[in-house]
């Protein structure tokens, strides 16, 4: 079983034009079934993804390393850049 969620990420200084851009990111996570133990410690694991973005000013592509977190109850399956945030486009 998996679930998708949308996040917004800010590129405060675009490496191409120097302006601030906000992009929408679709993150798909698979749910890990909870163990039968009544008590479990929530563990987190940072995961780094490199994704390509298009600068709306220069219409060129740059890359960004995004760090997301895997938890003990869900794992990241995919991270997709869906485009500019609605208020920016």
């Amino acid at each position: 079983m998996s679930q998708s969620s949308e996040s917004l990420i800010n590129i405060s200084v675009c490496p191409l034009c120097g302006l601030r851009h906000t992009y929408a990111l679709a993150v798909k996570r698979s749910i890990v079934l909870e163990s039968l133990r009544s008590f479990s410690i929530e563990t987190t694991l940072p995961r780094r993804f490199t994704r390509l973005f298009t600068c709306p000013t220069k219409d060129e592509t740059f890359q960004a390393d995004i760090t997301l977190t895997d938890t003990s109850s869900d794992r990241i399956e995919s991270v997709t850049v869906t485009g500019l945030a609605p208020d920016e486009s």
């Binding site: 800010n10 200084v13 191409l16 390509l52 592509t61 960004a64 997301l68 977190t69």
Partner: protein, 159 residues
């Protein structure tokens, strides 16, 4: 360059494309664009090959058949069939080559992606079936040629 708004995203570090990632990006773009053309070009090439195989096969038959040899109607069907199968393969490749009638709305990227995938799948299907038919015709032509070689020179003659 650090993100602070999202609950999920911990940090974002933006930078210009590295040469390696730039090359990968260009390769990805080429793959995406050319995946349609590859199937189309294959079908186009195979239309010529399949239809060209018909006169080649018939010429080979004429060359291999003993002079003044008259085929029975059954032999004529068996030896002539590969030419028809080559023609069928050519027709299958031709159907695969021509585009289907679809309305593309350029502002709907999902639609373009769906149509592109359908087109690639369709071409692949026709190319595969066309190639199977072409292979069958080749095999049949080889067997038929081998049979013709073994025909007795003093076969049935024109009365």
């Amino acid at each position: 360059m650090i993100n602070g708004e999202s609950r999920q995203v911990e940090s974002v570090v933006a930078s210009p494309l590295s040469p390696h990632n730039k090359a990968l990006y260009e390769a990805g773009k080429t793959l995406l664009v050319e995946s349609i053309e590859v199937g189309r070009e294959f079908c186009k090439f195979m239309i010529g090959s399949s239809s060209g195989a018909i006169p080649v096969y018939l010429g080979l038959l004429k060359f291999l058949l003993p002079e003044h040899y008259v085929l029975t109607s059954r032999q004529a069907v068996e030896l002539g069939a590969p030419a028809l199968v080559f023609l069928l393969a050519s027709a299958v490749f031709a159907v695969g080559y021509f585009p289907t009638k679809t309305d593309v709305a350029l502002e709907l990227l999902e639609d373009i992606n769906r149509i592109r995938n359908e087109s690639v799948q369709r071409r692949r299907r026709f190319a595969l079936w066309g190639f199977v038919i072409f292979g069958t015709a080749c095999l049949w032509a080889i067997v038929a040629s081998a049979v013709v070689i073994t025909l007795p020179i003093s076969g049935p003659r024109v009365p």
